[in-house]
């Protein structure tokens, strides 16, 4: 079963009612009844409930409380005061179920998000739990790992014959494996409780701000009216026969020709090598960034994309090779000077916010750089206006939403008038609504003010929808630098970089069209539609 809904709709609260954190840790008023395996949760205890309901939390770093993989899997058993001899076989058994048995001695620091999540899952599997509850299991995973996670969940559900409740907003990714029922929440109320096919054919998901699967978007755009009988919940199973002609004619109708523009190069990375101690992190990397480009930097964890980002910001300097900024070797700039040319926006806005009032935060960088008062006033007014938060400039930061906080951090970087801004995972962990808000805002900045933007991301949707070009990293090498649709139709790159075939690719292959051109047509048509709207 899948529980779906935008942020703040009550899905986490509902989950906490099921696993017993409500009322154990979050006291409040409860009306009505919630029964798990026949027991009322309010009269049970969190300890008894945890033997029936196993919960995997969203934040796999927080859930990993043990010091090693084995220690974490054993955590619940330790709390049961189980003797060690009894513990060992059970830990091994659980670890084998999730494929982590070879990592028992590993420490959390060196594990990937997907591995941590597997450990979390193993840690709750001891008591033959009846219900497995997953809170946003896909949030921190790269696309391929997301698929593996869903696969694993599916497998465990089948083998152990237990109930699985997944809380997510990434509908398409969850539907990678069959789901029996979907419950859609909004404002604390259930607005839909139906099968995936029923839900996908209704208009409800779009109205409630949930992202529709890409292949369905493409079908709708081509004017196809998909019905329940077509079995639309999976791109491989959907019945396409009657829509083929429509899709082909849509595909030929989109004009994908673009005016070729000459662009000025701002940043050039030339044959750069970089090593931490003896481990090579970047190996002969070269790419260039043009003015007003919008580029996605993608690749799996540890592929070198954050090292590349740090290198561009000048926090690390190349061992070999050159970085040219507007034609000048950037070694002559200090980090501080470089910071005014290349702005770096961290993933978590809370890690950047220092001041309590928005305008103070935005002016912080300028004050630190010792700018004059008029210049500060002028720059922050411009930045605040560009980011559309000028009317709120005197508000305390504590009252604004996550998306607005992100805007504040971007404004505080923009105030320094950088040539390029570099964003680390700008939408990580956000639902579709906030995600769209942040991304369309960045798009406006790029389009209206010609600001060069680089994103680091593992989210392929983000790359497809909002960027022109993608630079792909794998094992410290830059393995691809091309338009997004070319990258996404190149199987080699996709495999090496742990990316995932989008469902558009599968759709195109199934109807016998060239995937590269089909993806391009879709993107062009989609963007046009979005621009008309805004």
């Amino acid at each position: 079963m899948l529980i779906l809904g935008p942020s703040g709709c009550g899905k986490s609260t509902l989950a906490n009612c099921i696993n017993g954190l409500v009322p154990f840790s979050y006291p409040g008023e409860i009306q009505g009844s919630c029964k798990i395996a026949g027991t009322e949760t309010s009269s049970s205890s969190i300890f008894n409930l945890s033997a029936v309901v196993g919960t995997v939390l969203q934040d796999s770093d927080a859930q990993f409380v043990g010091l090693s993989v084995g220690g974490d899997i054993a955590y619940a058993l330790e709390n049961d005061n189980m003797p060690r001899e009894e513990m060992l076989p059970r830990v091994l058994n659980s670890a084998t179920l999730v494929g982590m048995h070879e990592f028992l001695e590993h420490v959390p620091y060196n594990l990937s998000g997907g591995q941590k999540q597997r450990v979390s899952l193993a840690g709750i599997m001891h008591d033959h739990v009846k219900v497995l509850l997953f809170d946003e299991p896909l949030a921190a995973l790269d696309p391929q790992m997301g698929n593996q996670a869903i696969d694993l969940i599916d497998q465990i559900q089948k083998n152990n014959n237990c109930t699985v409740v997944i809380i997510e907003h990434r509908l398409e990714d969850v539907l990678y494996r069959p789901v029996d029922r979907i419950i859609l929440l909004e404002d604390g109320q259930i607005v839909a409780d139906m099968t995936p096919n029923e839900l996908l054919c209704s208009n409800i998901i779009v109205e409630k701000g949930i992202r529709e699967p890409l292949y369905l978007q493409a079908l709708k755009m081509a004017g196809c009216n998909v019905t329940i009988e077509d079995n639309p919940c999976n791109v491989f199973d959907i019945n396409l026969d009657k829509y083929k002609d429509q899709l082909v004619s849509f595909y030929t109708s989109v004009d994908t020709s673009k005016p070729v523009e000459e662009k000025e190069v701002v940043l050039e990375v030339k044959n750069v090598d970089f090593s931490y101690d003896k481990k090579k992190a970047l190996d002969d990397v070269s790419f260039s960034v043009n003015k007003a480009d919008k580029i996605a930097v993608v690749g799996k964890n540890g592929a070198g994309k954050s090292t590349a980002a740090k290198l561009i910001c000048g926090i690390l300097r190349p061992d070999k090779g050159k970085v040219l900024l507007e034609g000048v070797d950037y070694l002559k700039y200090s980090i501080k000077e470089l910071g005014q040319k290349i702005g770096y926006v961290m993933q978590n806005p809370n890690q950047m916010l220092v001041k309590d009032i928005i305008r103070d935060e935005v002016s912080l960088g300028l004050v630190l750089n010792g700018k004059s008062e008029e210049e500060i006033e002028r720059n922050i007014e411009e930045a605040l206006k560009k980011c559309d938060i000028w009317p709120m400039r005197n508000w305390p930061i504590s009252v604004v939403s996550y998306g607005q906080k992100k805007r504040v951090t971007i404004a505080s970087i923009l105030a320094m008038n950088p040539e390029i801004i570099l964003l680390d995972e700008p939408t990580a962990g956000q639902d579709y609504r906030v995600y769209t808000e942040i991304m369309s805002f960045l798009e406006t900045l790029n389009r209206n003010y010609g600001i060069t933007i680089l994103f680091i991301t593992h989210d392929m949707h983000l790359a497809i929808e909002y960027t022109d070009r993608a630079i792909v990293f794998a094992d410290g090498k830059c393995i691809g630098d091309d338009s997004v649709f070319k990258i996404l139709s190149n199987n080699d790159i996709i495999e090496q970089a742990n990316l995932k075939q989008t469902s558009l690719y599968s759709l195109a292959t199934r109807i016998g069209l060239n995937p590269e051109d089909f993806i391009e047509s879709f993107i062009v048509a989609e963007r046009r539609k979005r621009h008309e709207k805004s």
């Binding site: 840790s25 409380v65 084995g70 220092v354 750089n369």
Partner: protein
């Protein structure tokens, strides 16, 4: 990560590593009493030698411990010199000896008694250092937690220690990231360019987001612990704590004997205070 990696998160291979957490913690506790209780060379010197042997047997990464050793030895020597400068006759109270060996000025003299007192004191400090160095390098945080529980302390205290070690790497990574992003925004951290008080103010800028984000995770972690039954019973067991093996039993006998000796030494010292002049016999 500078010297944060002196502690191992997973069990090592050598003889001392392989002892159980309970053995290590109890032995360490007894040895700390042992080294603290006296200024007696025949008591301190053997332990010093044993801990040096222990240290070598751990096959430590010398790269990691070298700076620590140099720093601590230097600190202690400076300390001893300060003692001497403050009162060149500070050894008199213990040794009752004022024989001048060497005189710089009328005030700054080296007496036999003071020399002996300060040398033994230095050795005592160094022994305390080597003992804890061997201890910290041989134990993992989980064993430490298990060991503390075995001393009769509440297991929640052990859990605090264990959790603290779990999140030190995460927080230091956050610290580095925040520091980087603030430097890009123009924060000056170069010690040569600014005065200490200025630097203190600059550090505040890094500290605020670090504090906010560090404590933000408390809710999630405590939920994760509650959901897996933390605090369910009065006792809890430890995955990484091996049951008592042969070597642990041998050490059990050893630390019990040392403990008995300590009790005898302290009690006999209280009943009939030792002659302070005993020191000089060693000259």
């Amino acid at each position: 990560m500078k010297n944060l990696n002196i502690i191992n998160l997973t069990k090592g291979e050598t003889f001392l590593h392989q002892l159980s957490g309970t053995t290590k913690v109890r032995l360490f506790a007894v040895l700390m009493v042992y080294v603290t209780m006296s200024f007696d060379l025949p008591i301190i010197l053997p332990l010093f030698i044993v801990t040096i042997v222990g240290l070598v047997s751990l096959k430590p990464s010398w790269k990691v411990i070298k700076p620590v050793v140099i720093f601590v030895v230097a600190m202690n020597i400076v300390n001893i010199v300060l003692f001497w400068l403050a009162n060149p006759h500070c050894g008199f109270e213990y040794t009752g000896d004022k024989t001048v060996l060497f005189a710089f000025t009328d005030y700054l003299v080296v007496t036999k008694g003071t020399f002996w007192y300060l040398t033994v004191r230095l050795l005592k400090m160094l022994t305390s250092f080597t003992t804890s160095l061997v201890f910290i390098m041989s134990i993992t945080p989980s064993e430490l937690a298990a060991g503390l529980t075995s001393l009769g302390l509440p297991y929640k205290l052990g859990s605090i220690v264990e959790l603290a070690f779990r999140y030190i790497p995460d927080i230091s990574r956050d610290y580095e990231n925040i520091s980087i992003s603030m430097q890009c925004r123009g924060l000056e951290l170069d010690a040569k360019k600014i005065k200490p008080i200025e630097r203190l103010k600059q550090m505040i800028i890094i500290l605020i987001p670090l504090i906010v984000t560090s404590f933000d995770r408390v809710g999630n972690i405590s939920n994760a612990m509650d959901l897996r039954g933390f605090g369910k019973g009065k006792q809890r067991s430890y995955y990484s704590e091996y049951p008592e093996r042969r070597n642990d039993t041998i050490f059990k006998v050893i630390y019990c004997l040392i403990a008995l000796f300590c009790v005898y030494y302290i009690v006999s010292g209280l009943i009939s205070p030792r002659d302070p002049k005993m020191w000089i016999y060693w000259s």
